[in-house]
């Protein structure tokens, strides 16, 4: 069977799910899983096979003949979409049930089906017009998913911010595709590398897709949207949706002729995003917000990889670019999987306690061991630590950049800062996730609600286990994934299709397997030894203080205090501090929140200015007829002048 058959089946299943799924959760789950399975098969056929799948049809929605294409690059993303999509579908059945959310659960199902279908079409569409349609469908359905729980003001605000930002991106895409089709004479998409005149369009594409991809200065919508969305949606958004933006950037950076500066710019925004994203993540107190900022960081890492590849291309297609792009693409996968896993974990915590603030949680490992273990697993994966998948992709990116540096290519000075920032971001990510998992799951419960938590059900546990499994497969047997990556790199830059520029994934895999095995053995051994020597439980040593309380534990805020001090210049934390003073101090407050740097210092002032302008303009509509006639005369004069000028020229 060809991929087409599977894709058709998937489309039908999703359509059926959207229609029938409202009333019937079980049927919907079955249909969605079926669709995802079919999509996965289709993309695997393309990934493992040698030929791209392409399909043109006579029927022409919007006056343009339908043209679908699945090549090495898009198949990679489609496979991820199907895996995470399926997981999220299962999770939502346990997390957003009709019993708890009678009014929004049915629409959640419908919009999820639509979202999956739309994202799939984005990956498949090979015609500008249809890609735009799919893109906007994806945007809107994601909006309605984010704002499922519309009763809360902040959810609505987050949704609106998301919608507005996305639309800004979409407008750029309007310009991009319109200009592209105006220049090339057709809406049909394909490689146009040789038409050097199109190079400037790259910037439009970069911005347009970057907004959705959570690229650094335009990531402003991402944190609040991912934090306020229901967790199964957050997982979809963070695990798949932002990858659509990355897909766009990767796709068109591969197809368009590249401006000379493209590589440098991407390295720049990537580095900035990686560093600032993780710094902001480290200082968050809201668990889901922390995860969202971590997405910004990982997008930064991915863009660093892509930027390295662009640098390589603009400097004559050096083979190290292949490693960079392969690493970036694999990191898309790793980030998608582990971030979805983490959001599921956060979701199951939220579901059990109703709390997202880490200061309200703590000691959950006792009540929810599965969640704790899986969250820790995800934390290790996303911090890029061996022996899990996160390391493999970061390692590939590193390897590409190191090769660039070692080969003393002209791009060296773009590469060096990127590498240094990658290192710093890695260390910060580790700190961030130590903080997150420890504050939430270790120590003593900080509130009664946290103490009363219960472990999540099988429907929520299973997807987490599946994702964890996927993570460890990539981590332990990375060599399996080299071929698809090579194909993708090949379809991105044809010169790299040949298998020059190998990455020693086999050796790394071996090291990982050994490490994992020995670590497990050693852990078990030490555990047995400790018990053999006699293990006694006693309260934590309190330095002789007689009445320790759970509130005295090191909180997330204090944990990130040191780093916050270093980055205070950039992050600009807002502090409220009332010291206790006088003989009988009443109360002392110390609050600290870190607003999004770009949002607070760029976007909000700008929007205020615009609103002030509009307020000034609206005063002109004051209702005085006489002045309306004056306006009319002004119009007359101006038109007259313009006509006169027109004649003058």
């Amino acid at each position: 069977m060809t991929p087409g058959a599977f894709l058709l089946a998937a489309a039908l299943c999703l359509a059926a799910g959207a229609v029938l799924g409202r009333g019937n959760p079980r049927l919907w789950l079955a249909l969605t899983l079926g669709a995802m399975a079919a999509t996965l098969t289709a993309s695997l056929i393309v990934c493992e096979g040698a030929v791209d799948w392409e399909w043109r049809s006579p029927l022409a929605p919007g006056g343009e003949p339908l043209h679908l294409r699945l090549d090495g690059l898009s198949a990679l993303f489609l496979a991820l979409l199907s895996v995470v999509g399926g997981a999220s579908a299962v999770f939502s059945r346990g997390y957003w049930t009709d019993e708890e959310h009678p009014d929004s659960a049915p629409s959640s199902r419908m919009w999820t089906s639509l979202l999956l279908a739309a994202m799939g079409s984005v990956l498949l569409a090979s015609n500008g017009l249809h890609l735009l349609i799919a893109w906007e469908l994806f945007t809107v359905s994601a909006y309605f998913l984010i704002t499922l729980d519309r009763r809360h003001r902040d959810v609505r605000a987050a949704g609106w911010l998301y919608l507005g930002a996305s639309h800004a991106g979409t407008m750029c895409l309007f310009a991009f595709f319109a200009a592209l089709s105006a220049r090339t004479g057709s809406w049909d998409l394909g490689p146009v590398r040789e038409q050097a005149g199109l190079a400037p369009l790259f910037w439009l594409a970069l911005f347009g897709f970057g907004v959705k991809g959570g690229m650094f200065p335009v990531h402003v919508w991402l944190p609040s949207a991912h934090a306020n969305a229901p967790s199964h949606v957050s997982a979809l958004m963070s695990g798949v949706a932002i990858n659509m933006g990355i897909y766009g950037i990767a796709r068109f950076s591969g197809w368009l002729p590249l401006p000379a500066a493209s590589g440098w710019v991407l390295l720049g925004v990537g580095s900035a995003g990686a560093l600032l994203g993780i710094a902001l993540a480290f200082v968050q107190n809201d668990l889901k917000r922390l995860l969202a900022y971590c997405s910004v960081e990982n997008v930064g890492v991915i863009l660093i990889g892509v930027g390295g590849a662009l640098l390589a291309v603009t400097h004559g297609g050096a083979p190290w670019g292949k490693l960079a792009i392969a690493g970036a693409l694999l990191h898309v996968w790793n980030h998608g999987l582990s971030k979805a896993l983490l959001f599921f974990g956060a979701g199951s915590v939220l579901h059990a306690t109703g709390k997202r603030e880490m200061t309200q949680l703590g000691g959950l490992w006792r009540a929810m061991p599965w969640t704790a273990g899986l969250f820790a697993f995800g934390a290790v994966a996303i911090s890029g630590l061996p022996p899990l998948n996160g390391f493999i992709s970061e390692w590939l990116v590193y390897l590409g950049l190191f090769d660039a540096a070692a080969s003393r290519s002209p791009g060296l000075w773009g590469v060096v800062p990127a590498v240094i920032i990658l290192g710093m971001a890695g260390a910060l990510a580790l700190a961030t996730f130590v903080k997150a998992s420890a504050t939430v799951f270790l120590g003593a419960p900080r509130t009664r609600t946290a103490a009363g938590a219960r472990e999540c059900g099988m429907l929520m546990r299973a997807p987490m286990l599946a994702l964890a499994g996927a993570c460890s497969v990539i981590g332990l047997a990375p060599a399996l994934f080299w071929r698809p990556l090579e194909r993708a790199a090949g379809s991105w830059h044809p010169a790299w299709a040949a298998s020059e520029g190998q990455a020693p994934l086999a050796a790394a895999g071996l090291a990982h397997v050994a490490l994992a095995a020995v670590a497990c053995a050693a852990a078990a051994w030490l555990w047995r030894k400790a018990h053999a020597n006699g293990l006694r439980r006693a309260p934590t040593w309190d330095c002789g203080y007689s009445a320790p309380t759970a509130r005295m534990q090191y909180s997330g805020g204090s944990f990130s205090g040191i780093a916050m001090g270093w980055f205070a210049g950039i992050l600009g934390p807002e502090r409220v501090l009332h010291r206790p003073h006088g003989p009988f101090p009443v109360r002392a407050i110390r609050m600290e929140r870190v607003p999004d740097t770009v949002l607070a210092h760029v976007m909000e002032p700008a929007s205020d200015a615009v609103l002030r302008l509009s307020g000034a303009a609206r005063r002109l509509q004051h209702g005085r007829l006489q002045f309306y006639i004056v306006y009319l005369l002004c119009g007359l004069t101006v038109v007259a002048l313009l006509t006169w000028i027109g004649v003058g020229q």
Binding site: P61, G63, E136, R156, A168, A175, A178, A179, I629
Partner: protein, 480 residues
């Protein structure tokens, strides 16, 4: 002959409405006439009649490419009107029904007018006929709105008459025999007296621009749309403005024939962008969702004239946009009317949570909002994208950039207001209203149908329409 039926039939219907005895059954005249009119219009669309070049009225390609949209819109409004007037039994509907039908007839005449004078006369007549419709509610607010509409619009009309005189004089001065059909004027072409042509263009653009509601002559629009019943708003936004637009197009063709096309296009671009800018600035701040529709209409008028200034491709897109915008706007007006009645208020400060009070209307309203802000797959997306593409093809990069910026900010304004109305927790008063008014099929199906048509227009534009638009473009850009 059929084309004249388009004019006569509604006028006859209007006369009949005046004589019709029963208040209760009179509204049914509107859908009756409307459906016949629609059938006729589409019949003509698919089998266009031959038009005598010298005829004063005729179903020429321009009429063919625009009029069916107007008659569709009227049909929807008429269907809605039956239920609406049943709700509003406290007002006598004789004048209302009669003038609505008369307006349809006059619009049909205006779209078919191929003579400068006839064009002006019909436009003037439409302006006057709309007065009782605007004043339907009879409140002092309604009176104020009507007064402003009449004075500003009247001034505009006067200016367009002056412009017509100037164009006539240009022809006479150029040795014309005083035949003021557009065919003759275009034939005279370069023979027209240059300065008079330019003066004529200025007055005609401003005059008809006032009727279109281009900034800064748009000031009557928010008041009129805000105070008039939903149907009237829809007809004004989708029909009357369209007549003015076709008028501008026909005149522009003459100017173009006279060799001043570039100057004309420059003014069109400028005034179009300015309209979009003004509309956006107001959209960002307004709290009243009916006035919001007015400003959105101003924005789309800007889009139309910009398209008209961007060469054949842009003009084609503009015709497309006449359809998609008119029908989508209609849906928006009608659903907004439902919401307004259910909420008993019009500003976002008073209206909240309509999604739970009037779920269907709210859904249509949101869908229409997305459609009108050029979100695919609705009609406006395709037409506006084509305008942008035309801008790129003709090398107007700055125009494209400003255009997109305006679209973006318009989206901000619209979404902000619409969601603040639709979402949230409804106020008790509205809950009560919800009990009182339940959404009748009669006020849901018409806007729904309009949305459906807008969707269908975008995804599968019928070949006949494409062909009609192409012909119209050919009529306005005659091959040298």
């Amino acid at each position: 002959m059929r084309e004249f039926l388009l004019i006569i039939l509604p006028l006859a219907g209007a006369a009949l409405a005046v004589l019709w005895p029963s208040e209760r059954t009179r509204p049914w005249l509107m859908p009756a006439v409307g459906s016949v009119h629609t059938v006729l219009a589409f019949w003509l669309l698919f089998s266009p009649p031959h038009v005598a070049p010298g005829a004063w009225f005729g179903f020429d390609p321009i009429a063919r490419s625009v009029l069916p949209a107007v008659s569709l819109l009227f049909l929807a409004c008429a269907a809605y009107g039956v239920t609406y007037l049943r709700i509003r039994t406290e007002r006598p509907n004789r004048v209302f029904v009669a003038s609505l039908l008369a307006i349809l007839g006059l619009l049909s005449a205006g779209h078919q007018a191929r003579h400068l004078g006839m064009l002006w006369i019909t436009t003037e007549a439409v302006t006057l006929t709309a007065v009782p419709l605007l004043h339907f509610n009879g409140t002092s607010r309604a009176f104020e709105a009507t007064w402003k509409y009449l004075l500003v619009g009247g001034t505009g009309i006067a200016l367009s008459l002056l412009g017509s005189f100037c164009l006539g004089y240009a022809s006479v001065r150029g040795g014309g025999n005083g035949d003021l059909t557009f065919v003759a004027l275009m034939a005279q072409g370069a023979g027209l007296s240059r300065p008079w042509v330019l003066i004529a263009w200025v007055f005609l653009l401003v005059g008809y621009g006032t009727k279109m509601g281009l900034a800064p002559m748009h000031t009557w629009k928010p008041d009129a749309y805000g105070e008039a019943p939903a149907i009237v708003g829809a007809m004004l936004a989708g029909g009357v403005t369209t007549v003015a637009f076709t008028a501008v197009l026909r005149v522009r063709a003459v100017i173009n024939a006279a060799g001043e096309g570039l100057a004309a296009d420059r003014t069109l671009l400028a005034i179009g962008l300015f309209s979009m800018l003004v509309a956006v600035l107001f959209l960002l701040g307004t709290r009243d969702f009916k006035r919001m529709l007015a400003y959105s209409s101003v924005e789309h008028m800007g889009i139309l004239v910009i398209g008209a200034a961007l060469g054949p491709a842009g003009l084609w897109a503009a015709f497309f946009h006449v359809w998609s915008n008119g029908l989508t706007k209609g849906a928006l007006f009608l659903s907004a009317g439902n919401i307004r009645r259910a909420a008993g208020a019009r500003t976002a400060d008073e209206v909240r949570g309509m999604s739970s009070v009037t779920p269907q209307s709210a859904a249509i309203f949101v869908a229409g909002m997305f459609a009108v802000t050029a979100c695919p797959p609705f009609g406006p997306f395709f037409s506006e994208l084509r305008v942008i593409r035309a801008a790129f093809e003709t090398g107007h990069l700055a125009v494209a950039a400003m255009f997109l910026a305006c679209l973006l900010f318009a989206f901000f304004g619209l979404t902000r207001l619409v969601f603040s109305i639709v979402d949230g927790r409804p106020r008790t008063a509205e809950k009560g209203a919800a009990k009182r008014i339940r959404e009748k099929a009669g006020v849901i199906i018409p806007p729904l149908a309009l949305m459906g048509i807008s969707l269908w227009l975008g995804l599968a534009t019928p070949a006949a329409l494409r062909e009609a638009w192409t012909d119209a473009v050919a009529q306005l850009y005659p091959a040298p």
